[in-house]
Subunit: 340 residues, 2 copies
């Protein structure tokens, strides 16, 4: 039988009240007594029963994901995963919801975060680009006792905050390696498309990508990043210009998470199958494109894993526990048609 606090009290030669004081770090316990209890914990292998703890504390967890207002398919996947997690974790007294904010506006993000009260939410997962305003707002949230994790974006700014997501330099490097090796030794240029070059994430990916291309694939050269601003017409125009000026394009790398706009733009006047196409994030569009060989590889971070990981971390922090680091590292996935 599993030892209970009662057994622990007996083993330590103290009363239940004292065991309680030690376990919950209440004041007025002598160092000697603390040690007696801790030794007994070791000796009999006492482990707190979380179910009982949560029941007695009558604890619930309310977490919120702060996500972009605008987006395409990847955002939809994230919303779906949050909703799924909310349903799945209800029996565990965890409730999760979403606030959609104009994350491209640092003031909007900061305002929203400042408006949160500790009574309303126990933790937030924030997906917002780096900005001094957002950074300050997050710090202030922490001070008010609300746990914060940075979600899929902006891992640079606050080391003391947990981060859920991939190392974007490595993700870019992975894309670069795939691009290089899939090019089968051909020489030429690589078209690089992003939604905006202002995003730190895109900058990092490009950095990793270029590093690998330059170091390992001398026949290939990356062109300057084109910006779509999520505008199909604009994208088609500038992409066409790029193709006209560079007849020797052998590959296309879509840096930003929503690949639909840039790839549909290119498909208007070129056959994607003729290039090595690497994109980020699995969405219905990119999945379909991979199946039809219009895309050769997708570099992805699993949104379901990311959401669940963020929740586990918030919960651990709320309980003053250390998250299990190994389990929480989000992998950089490489998706081909065969391992979808």
């Amino acid at each position: 039988m599993r030892p209970t606090t009662k057994d622990l009290a007996k083993a330590a030669g103290v009363s239940l009240a004292t065991v309680d004081r030690v376990l919950n770090e209440r004041p007025n316990v002598s160092a000697r007594t603390v040690k007696k209890v801790q030794d007994a914990i070791e000796r009999i292998g006492f482990v707190r029963n979380i179910a009982a703890v949560n029941l007695a504390r009558n604890r619930t967890y309310r977490f919120r994901f702060v996500l972009p207002e605008k987006g395409d398919q990847y955002l939809k996947e994230l919303l779906r995963e949050v909703a799924a997690a909310n349903a799945a974790l209800k029996p565990d007294l965890v409730s999760v919801d979403v606030a959609q904010v104009a994350i491209e506006d640092p003031h909007a993000v900061a305002n929203y975060l400042s408006s949160l009260e500790a009574g309303a939410v126990d933790g937030v997962a924030v997906m917002a680009p780096e900005s001094p305003q957002a950074r300050d707002a997050m710090s202030r949230l922490c001070e008010r006792g609300i746990k914060v994790v940075q979600f899929l974006s902006g891992q640079e700014n606050l080391e003391k905050l947990d981060f859920v997501g991939v190392d974007n330099v490595a993700a870019g490097a992975t894309a670069g390696r795939i691009m290089g090796r899939f090019s089968a030794g051909r020489a030429g240029k690589i078209l690089i498309v992003a939604e905006t070059i202002l995003s730190q994430d895109s900058i990092k990916r490009r950095l990793g990508f270029d590093r690998v291309i330059n170091r390992c694939f001398p026949g290939l050269r990356s062109l300057p990043t084109l910006e779509t601003h999520s505008d199909l017409e604009r994208a088609a125009r500038i992409v066409k210009t790029a193709f006209d000026h560079n007849p020797d394009i052998v590959g296309v790398y879509v840096v930003s998470p929503e690949a639909r706009v840039p790839l549909e733009a290119i498909a208007r006047f070129a056959d994607l199958k003729k290039f090595v196409v690497v994109a980020h994030e699995r969405t219905p569009f990119s999945e379909q494109a991979l199946r039809e060989e219009r895309v050769d590889a997708i570099i992805a971070q699993n949104p379901g894993h990311a959401v669940r990981s963020a929740i586990r971390i918030l919960r651990a922090r709320a309980d003053h526990l250390e998250p299990v680091a190994a389990q929480e590292r989000i992998r950089i996935e490489i998706l081909l048609a065969e391992n979808l």
Copy 2:
């Protein structure tokens, strides 16, 4: 405030005892009353508090992983992950241990499984190749009320059993695609090495591999599978013969999970860097080899995910719940030096 059974009773206009009867599917409740309670559950959004349920039931979960007796580094990883899961889940009243059995002997597996008593274990995760004996033993375990999942091996034999692991045909196909595209259009032969060709897993991987190679890469041709039987000397001998007979080998595909023996055998007389080398499973050896470019890609199934997934499934089954399918699919990972 979250509704409790008390609130539910009031909302349904019945007593607590009746709510209890409905929730736990006890007999002697009229259909009309059941409906009243279920409607009320919907209406007020009642969700059972798992912490309280487990506490009241005083439930504990004892699971066992049945793993091979002999093995190399991948087995070690599995053992490590099981131990880690055991430590991490202790507060949740889950205990996990390992029994190492000579899984290559169907009788040994069957004997071991038959010896398990329902009182000692609530569920087992069995990693054993397909065999009528093992199959029967698993079925009988189920009948005795012990939950069973097939772990990383043998998904064909019993559809009614849960399976944790990847589709090995797809894993082989993924390896084939990587092999083909990384070969950069060169023509030649591919050396294929397995520990034994008797394993269903290896057969399936080879099947998927060949399918992709034959269909998509006409310049490449797979050689017959060589068997190492985990014997370095033997492996070195037969591998050398193969290289002598086939000077146009461009790639090496190690089908079985433990890549150390075959690759060290080859490295004795050839430079692995000159070939495209694809292997399965991440181990300290394969990871190091990938870093040093002696291996070009690793196709892996994350042992940590697999272990945790098996446990979640066993737990769900023990509670008569349906596991969350989406979360439990083990991904076929492609590892390069960049996304380790």
